[in-house]
Symmetry: C2
Subunit: 571 residues, 2 copies
């Protein structure tokens, strides 16, 4: 008996060695149906876009090298849809980036579109609608890519958890968009609540609430509880998909060790609170090392805006306390919304983990300075880059470039800079109030190194400069420098960190400051680069990069069928 058991185990081990490589690179198939449903994520009932009945949608959990297949059925009544896989570089599949107007036509009601792409790196990523302002309607979720079996991260933890932070409006995205493009401008205002993993809490007793819409006892708005076992260490993956808000996240009485940012290992550092901007992801390690007889608040507070939005609250629940038992202490109130210093400090603190440094090119081939301003165009309030306010064409760039439909958008390239000498970034924009609009793209020479300097400035309101989190599709970039004031083309580049800069896909430019980033234009395709604040991108704060499009393989016709590619779909 013993002998045959050993033989059997040996056989099993042999089979394991033979088949594990096959098993590891799996195809993970998801069938999603997108539709409108009424939900009360913050106790206030409104129409949201769900995936398979949920918002946030189902998590994608995969391993490095897996192929993700999402069969996305659009069951909206009259509305199209597209989903972006945020942080996935789409190497060799630029047509699967899910960015309407850039990489694909929208998916019509009744259609099923198949997204198929490889998750080639471990890390914490996101997905969300990338069409109109649909992300704000609740169409988002998380992607967690694990290491191959047998490989380990450069840090230890007992459990792995994910949350997404979001802000939440009660008005529909249509109402918001119509207001933003109206004359006079109707601002969407501050969000009604902050959601932690899809749950928030709106005060149903607030005045002026339409009767019957708010139910403080709805099970849908029970605060999210992160249940922990005393003494254990948790890896908490935190993503932000706020429409507007920059957030400070903290867990009362617990330090957090930052270990990952946008899929890259961070040289660990400890924070009391984590600043996180829309489009970013972080992993932090939290040890459940406090008094286990009680629960603690997890709190997400708006910073960078003097917001009326109350903090989002969740419960850091020490097992076996009841997960709905409120902590005995008041929720955290810090930090001050207008204290930029700590935010800049955190930005500067994030370096590549010393064992995982990707050395950046030491020089760049092209520098594009991007002045971030608020402007007026024909009476509309807009956001601009170098006084050009972006609008999307209706023929996606990728198709237009590959199929020579260049009349589909403007061909005069957007400017690589602005009038540095004469533009005062520190006061209200008077000189360049009138910007122009364009849908022209930046064309980058393939395999060159590009520097982008994001230059912040005063808005159209006195003494106001906003934080803009910029997200680049199809790439990670090195964050080589931050500074305050106006970027100095001569001196500031000398201070770039070209030793151990972190790579990210989203980075903030702080009020009145600048952020320098570098990337290799080595991923053939057309890629959006834009402020991740939903209303800012809608109002023109974005650009598009074309690089090596001649190297892009044959496009699937499933992405076609709109604008000048209307007849290009082939079954």
């Amino acid at each position: 008996m013993v002998d045959s058991s050993i033989k059997f185990l040996t056989l099993l081990a042999l089979l394991y060695c033979l088949f594990v490589p096959l098993v590891e690179a799996r195809v993970r198939l998801y069938k999603w149906e997108v539709k409108y449903e009424f939900k009360s994520p913050d106790c206030y009932k409104k129409l949201v876009i769900t995936i398979n009945g949920r918002t946030p949608g189902p998590s994608i959990i995969a391993q490095q090298g897996d192929t993700i297949v999402v069969e996305l059925k659009n069951s909206l009544l009259t509305e199209n849809v597209a989903i972006h896989w945020h942080g996935i570089r789409q190497i060799e599949t630029p047509w699967m980036d899910g960015t309407e107007g850039v990489t694909q036509c929208p998916i019509l009601p009744g259609e099923t579109f198949v997204y198929r792409f490889v998750v080639d790196r471990p890390g914490t990523y996101l997905y969300h609608a990338h069409y109109g302002m649909q992300r704000e309607a609740g169409l988002y979720g998380s992607i967690r890519v694990g290491l191959p079996d047998g490989q380990t991260e450069p840090f230890l933890y007992d459990y792995d958890r994910s949350i997404i932070l979001n802000d939440w409006y009660h008005k529909s995205t249509y109402e918001q968009a119509a207001g933003l493009s109206s004359i006079p401008f109707v601002w969407v205002d501050e969000p009604q609540s902050i959601l932690i993993q899809g749950r928030g809490r709106f005060n149903c007793n607030a005045p002026g609430i339409e009767a019957g819409l708010c139910n403080a006892t709805s099970p849908e708005c029970v605060p999210y509880a992160l249940t922990v076992v005393p003494g254990k260490t948790y890896r908490l993956r935190i993503g932000s998909l706020t429409a507007l808000s920059a957030l400070s996240f903290e867990i009362e009485g617990h330090n957090m060790t930052v270990v990952e940012a946008d899929g890259h290992y961070v040289e660990p550092f400890v924070v009391k609170n984590l600043f996180i901007y829309s489009g970013e992801t972080y992993s932090v390690l939290i040890k459940a090392d406090q008094d286990p007889s009680r629960n603690y608040w997890a709190s997400a507070k708006v910073v960078s805006r003097n917001s009326t939005t109350p903090n989002g609250l969740a419960i850091f629940n020490y097992y076996p306390n009841h997960p709905r038992r409120n902590p005995p202490t008041p929720p955290p109130v810090r930090p001050r919304w207008d204290d930029v210093g700590p935010r800049l400090s955190q930005s500067l603190a994030i370096k590549a983990h010393r064992g995982y440094i990707h050395p950046p090119p030491q020089t760049s081939d092209r520098v594009i300075v991007m002045l971030n301003t608020q402007n007026r165009v024909n009476g509309h309030v807009r956001w601009s880059v170098n006084n050009v306010s972006f609008n999307l064409p209706h023929t996606p760039y990728l198709i237009a470039y590959k199929h020579n439909l260049l009349h589909a958008f403007e061909q005069t390239p957007p400017p690589d800079g602005y009038d540095y000498a004469n533009y005062d970034i520190s006061s209200v924009n008077t000189k360049n109030v009138n910007a122009t609009t364009s849908n022209a793209a930046y064309r980058l020479a393939f395999n060159t190194t590009v520097d982008i300097i994001l230059q912040n400035a005063n808005t159209m309101n006195p003494n106001n400069s906003e934080t803009h989190p910029w997200h680049l599709h199809g790439h990670d970039f090195w964050v080589v420098g931050y500074g305050t004031g106006k970027f100095d083309m001569f001196n500031d580049p000398k201070k770039y960190n070209l030793v151990d800069p972190i790579m990210k896909n989203t980075v903030a430019v702080h009020p009145y400051g600048w952020t320098a980033l570098r990337f290799r234009a080595d991923n053939p395709g057309v890629w959006a680069f834009h402020c991740h604040i939903e209303s800012h991108f809608f109002m023109g704060m974005g650009v598009v990069f074309e690089e090596g499009v001649e190297r892009v393989g044959k496009l699937p016709t499933s992405i076609m069928g709109c604008g000048d590619s209307k007849g290009y779909f082939r079954p």
Copy 2:
């Protein structure tokens, strides 16, 4: 001088004679942009779909034989659109009917679709969105087709005016649609107001109204004033595009002489109040023959439902009284909502004008009885015809038939009748609670005569039967009979009016009654026939007729590009 003037006038007259035929059959070009805007048609601000900034949209005013060209630009953000030309038969242009899923693919954001069709008969018609529930969002307007120069109608009037009646919801169409397809069912409830030519009046002091949304002094909700000169006779063209409501329209103290219905001359008859159902149009003559020192109420009251919706009010304004001066008398309160008798009487009173009778075929080739019921399908509340609840395919029928894409929808034909012997129309539907859904079409032999018997029944609520106005695309039909109770296949046809029946495109089936109509299947194409109540059609109350599709000319590819025709568009 005199001599040369006479010569010149003679020349002018000659030129007139030469060119008038060309001038008469004009091409009338409209450029419309469709988008969302905030409007307060009943003092309550909500997002509506406008055409060139207006709701109702611009009127189309043409003469018989004109070609209408509407270049429709979709400037919605994420939503498609399609517009139906209600009452225009689209002879030889069945692809221009504007019915999404039946005759065309929806028009994508950013696209411009060109509608081009001939208005071949004089009369009063309508246009409105025919996609999802967009009609309710405000996308509608009127079409007035005049006689050729020199021809006259069989009645006299001094002035010609048009109004559209509508009911108005404060919830968005998305919210309504999501509720209707939810389990449990969320009914849209009664409309908040009745609009007369796009203006209504909601009580801003009603409890539970969100602050800041209702403004009783908004100029957008000043009641519509129909200004009249004492002693003159007005032709008032009245169309109804209500989402739900059957209406009684009257002008305090004034008789109305009904002279036109759905583009056909009516043997004149006088009413105090006009019952009008969604999708119908009427012309009435009104003589301004009352005390001219004051104004009078025009009132639209909901009938057939025990509605909470207040009457819609406009001002019948005797010049030179101020058009905003309220009449000194209270608005009319009649008729009773549940008094079916007068409504049936009006239906029976409408006959073809004796000089304009189109004699109907004396026999029919096929009789289709259509039982109208409310049912449940998989827990959803639905409306059905012969216990089949309709849903639209995503490949329009017209394209599917012409291009042999018959797999795009079910091929088992829907039933031509129901179990007459055993179905009790007068009580709650228990036997056939569970209907099925289908998108199969009725195929009619070309050039045959078809009778449709609309058979009403009790809904799923005790002692309740609703009024359903049925609208046929691509045709007018003869209304050959009405009756109460269950249609008797043997005896009732003997009582058909085959002498002077009116032709219409929309007709009501009254509670617990039946309506018989006859038409010639002589217009090659695919045509929707459905209850014109927006929520009822959404919930399955419709069918589709195919007739002579093999005779339809080459389809323009501009209608293609969705479902199985996704690649069929050719620029």
